[in-house]
């Protein structure tokens, strides 16, 4: 079995994986980082979005071995202890989540959007979220939260 070594949320980890293991399964099962969710089997829903080397990636579309040597950030690595990342705080403030299942992927996508586009318009946000499905919120508050989170991230 191949071995992978990577940095996850600032910590070096390594382990043996079956060649077919997806990054999402490695995170959830080997590292017990269950904040990254699996919502589909066709790479459509975005519940599994993490950052690999700073860019948002659907961790269900990447093999664990492809992440060898990479820096991975999951939702668990975003907050600073009890202090939420500004984007997380904005989701709370604007009620951008209900059941919370899509939320980790949404937040990780949102942070990547703002890194590329510091002041996204409503249209920008809606287009960027093409790959993330939320069944609960109707997106109205997610859009508000992301725009507010973008403002807060500037500070």
């Amino acid at each position: 079995m191949p071995t992978v070594s990577l940095t996850v949320n600032g910590k070096s980890v390594s382990g043996e994986v079956e060649a077919r293991t997806l990054l999402v399964h490695f995170l959830r099962e080997k590292l017990s980082l269950t904040g990254t969710h699996v919502g589909c089997d066709t790479s459509q829903c975005g519940a599994c979005v993490v950052h690999v080397n700073g860019k948002s990636v659907k961790s269900c579309t990447m093999l664990a071995v492809q992440a060898d040597g990479a820096k991975v950030t999951t939702i668990e690595g975003l907050a600073n202890g009890a202090e939420l990342h500004p984007m997380q705080a904005a989701f709370r403030e604007h009620h951008g989540l209900q059941c919370g299942f899509c939320t980790p992927g949404m937040v990780m996508s949102a942070v990547d959007l703002v890194q590329n586009n510091p002041a996204p318009s409503e249209k920008d946000v809606r287009e960027w979220l093409e790959g993330n499905i939320c069944r609960c919120t109707g997106y109205h508050n997610i859009v508000k939260a992301i725009q507010a989170g973008a403002q807060a991230m500037k500070r």
Partner: protein, 788 residues
Amino acid sequence: MADTGIGASVKRKEDFRFLTGQGHYTDDINKHGQTYAYFLRSPHAHAKIRKVDTAAAAKMPGVVAVFTGADVAADKVGGLICGWTVTDRFGKPHKAPPHPILANEKVRYVGDHVAVVIAESIAQAKDAAEAIEVDYEELPAVVDTATAMDPKAAQLHADVPNNLCYDWELGDKAAVDAAFAKAAKVSKLDLVNNRLIPNAMEPRAAIGEYDAGTDSYTCYSTSQNPHVLRLILCAFIMGVPEHKMRVIAPDVGGGFGSKIFCYAEEVVCTWAAKKVKRPVKWTAERGESFVSDAHGRDHVSHVEMAMDKDGKFLAMKVDTIASMGAYLSTFATCVPTYLYATLLAGQYTAPAIYCNVKAVFTTTAPVDAYRGAGRPEATYVVERIVENCARDMKLDPAEIRRRNFIKPDAFPYQTPVALQYDSGNYEKALDEALKLADYKGYPARKAEAAKRGKLRGIGFSAYIEACGIAPSAVVGSLGAGVGLWESAQIRFNPTGTAQVLTGSHSHGQGHETTLAQVVADKLGLSVDAVTVVHGDTSQVPFGMGTYGSRSLAVGGSAAVKAIDKIVAKGKKIAAHLLEASVDDIQYSKGVFKVAGTDRQKTIQEIAFAAYVPHNYPKDLEPGLDETAFYDPANFTYPAGVHIAEVEIDPDTGVTTIANWSAVDDFGNVINPMVVEGQVHGGIAQGVGQALLEGCVYDKETGQLLTGSYMDYCMPRADDLPSFKIGTISTPCPHNPLGVKGCGEAGAIAAPAALVNAITDALGVRDIPMPASPERVWRVAQGAKMAAE
């Protein structure tokens, strides 16, 4: 307290854990030594099973056990049940064919459970499932709801002729016929309410555990309804007493009805845990969710409305055929009957209504309650025909509604279809919605759009729903197998914090916050001093779960009743401590006071005295912990008006929602932020139904053609606008909080509003849902060609 009490938009307590990835959904839980279950599912819509050979699979690496229908039958495990008996119009109970948890002789839909492999890893279980050999004798499929009763159609169940589950009616047919005979005008429509797949983002999952030392089971499940799941598992399927079964439904990632029911997978995992002496875990893949979660809607209807010369409604008649799918799911039978036909009065005064419903079996996944359950179907029928009445009478759609609304002074209002509406003010909601939508400015916007070559349309939906399910005696008389009260327990701690244990279940609705708000407000505590506990049958006294917007109206009312008991006991303690008579103690928001004096004790002091009863009334029990069961006196009746304004590009068929304005009446509101969020989500699901979502089975083969997110079009962020939301309030007169429920409103209102808008824009009477760009384009081109 004003900033966190009842009526305040308190930020949610549950959000921190969800936002930091610390939620505990069922698939996040792992048990020491667990095994993994994988279900072999039928590839055919309908087939006889001649033989299942599991010998090769059992020898595959990592396989712990393989079970088939024969193993289940040998162990006397019962089938899934339907918990509601509908009596047909001839006085007979509906047909209830057996629903085995693993098929034994026949499979009846693609995805039906044939066998289960339990292995050390899910990959090994899947590999082994491929080695199971099943000898099928294929039979013809029947997927079409409208023609399922055709005598030539394939028959699904031995004792169900013509696939007819029941033929049921409600209302006064003679009165309706008489009214039609003297009508000035009759409007007619044929409607299809498209079948939907609920698609909560968290797929269903279950973990079964068995403890030989105590001979007891634990089932972790993605359930909206843990106590009822326990009841069904124990009393009807496994023959295990309830005190030997614990059901835990931890964080659940959305339900929308699809997680109310008892499914084969949770039964099999729980049963198999004892057989293999290890925990058994199953998590659905999305593809499995598509084929095996209970689907929603799927009605075919014909509706007629009789009017006088002024457009006053005289009578309505409706014929509906409703699909049940291949087997009856837990509440399937009541959805197209008591949750549907009883709402056909809408917000209007038609004095006579008659509805006939025929429920049919088809070779498709079972159909059951989905967000709104019966009420979206009813609203679709009513609001589409009302719109067509307006067009036939050449009346403004707002005006025809206004002429026929039940007036604010007519409540309580007895409809001709069984229900008695509690309170409402339909005209006011309409007026507010017209303002919000800038209805006056609409003609100018339409003209401006036309200059750009776009078709603009506007559509109304004045919906009503019956929520807060439901008075036990009423549902019992209608065939329900359970009472629909709710329980709550309030446990005070010695240092003045409290826990609320509720039998309702939160899967996104925010109960941890709203219920805490109610209790904190009434007990004079901070919201942070109250924790809500739910979803565990070993902690919560009992419960009926969350669906039908019942959590606050019924569950919250139970909490208020428990608070009343706490206050009554607290008064006795306070009277003793303050050396006054109990009758002189007044209570308000956490403070017990001797009337007319400044002598008082806070509830925290009372709680402390109850647990440290050094100075305490002689005959009173220590402790401050009260339980209440609340059975509602009636349903609650939220209502409102949604107005959709659309713009259609005739060259592409794409419909853009230009404006969405909604004014809802939910009675009193505990947390406006949470309520708005519920409305947004509901509208999105309704928009999904009207524009994008449709479950399609191949008519010949019965294969599910929309079996993944590549084929089933889920609403995404750029399919939706931001919404304009307003509320009015006519408090519910019969529950102590005055609340009515808000969870389903958007999904109920939206489809009719949107299709009314699209047909208005296109100048046609109907377009089938989902009104996809292709369908809209065809109509737009047809209309254009006709005009040229």
